[in-house]
């Protein structure tokens, strides 16, 4: 019997789900609200030299990669199953589109994080 690949996707969905549930709100608040408006945090906190240094350090690199990749895999899995719930019957195409997007995003994130150097 062919082994199912579902547990892999489900694990990525679960890992991304719990990570986004735990720290997603504060990340959105910091990068999208606090820093751009200067609320609680300085507006220049995310300027180029700082963020470059952050992503050049192995811990910042790892953090950024894990957040982007797991959020993508979490969303892809959930959207794929919701499309089924909405009555979409092109199962394989939907699967390719959802997981394919997550895979491409993961590869691009990895490439960009390697490109910034260390």
């Amino acid at each position: 019997m062919k082994r199912s690949n579902a547990p892999i996707f489900w694990s990525l969905f679960g890992a991304g789900g719990i990570l986004s549930a735990l720290i997603g709100p504060v990340l959105v608040f910091i990068t999208g609200i606090a820093v751009p408006t200067g609320l609680l945090l300085p507006r220049d906190l995310m300027d180029y030299p700082r963020m470059l240094a952050f992503t050049q350090h192995w811990s910042g690199k790892g953090f950024a990669f894990v957040v982007i990749a797991l959020f993508l895999w979490h969303g892809a899995h959930r959207i794929f199953h919701s499309l089924h719930d909405l009555g979409l019957r092109t199962e394989t195409a939907a699967k390719l589109a959802c997981y394919g997007t997550a895979l491409i995003g993961t590869l691009v994130a990895g490439y960009a994080l390697l490109a910034v150097g260390s």
């Binding site: 991304g16 789900g17 719990i18 986004s20 549930a21 735990l22 720290i23 997603g24 709100p25 504060v26 990340l27 959105v28 608040f29 910091i30 990068t31 999208g32 609200i33 820093v35 751009p36 408006t37 609680l40 945090l41 300085p42 507006r43 906190l45 995310m46 300027d47 180029y48 963020m51 470059l52 992503t55 950024a64 957040v67 982007i68 959020f71 993508l72 979490h74 969303g75 892809a76 899995h77 959930r78 959207i79 199953h81 919701s82 719930d85 909405l86 009555g87 019957r89 997007t101 995003g105 691009v108 994130a109 490439y111 960009a112 994080l113 490109a115 910034v116």
Partner: protein
């Protein structure tokens, strides 16, 4: 070309019939926001890799009122995701039995939400301290 036209039950709006299903669909819809936020971060990452000019364009875009409004929507979506994630956690995780009794679902939900709140506050305080 087959002339058969098998009956396929319509699935339009089935979830609007029941509040439980509506809540389920809202919960699933948060995934779109999670992907949108990952895309925002990914574009910033690509900017970082391409150089200062590209990155500054991303940073400038984040400062636009439209982006801030969008992030307020994202924040609400993420908060709903956090709440619903831990609310269904008692059903999705393996059962834990302590002293012959199953752990109360409310305890699991409550601890999850408490840990999430604590982590968010600590992370924000750490960033504020680092910025000072």
């Amino acid at each position: 070309m087959s002339r058969r036209r098998p009956y396929v039950r319509a699935m339009d709006g089935w979830w609007r019939r029941d509040r439980f299903f509506v809540r389920y669909m809202i919960r699933e819809a948060t995934a779109v926001l999670v992907v949108a936020y990952a895309a925002v971060l990914l574009i910033g990452m690509i900017g970082l890799a391409r150089g200062e000019a590209a990155y500054d364009r991303w940073l400038e875009a984040l400062r636009s009122p439209l982006s801030v409004a969008f992030h307020v929507v994202l924040l609400l979506g993420f908060l709903y995701h956090t709440w619903s994630w831990f609310r269904i956690m008692p059903k999705t995780m393996p059962m834990i039995v302590v002293g012959g009794k199953r752990i109360e679902p409310r305890l699991i939900t409550g601890s999850g939400l408490a840990i999430a709140a604590a982590l968010c506050v600590v992370l924000l305080l750490v960033v504020i301290r680092m910025a000072a």
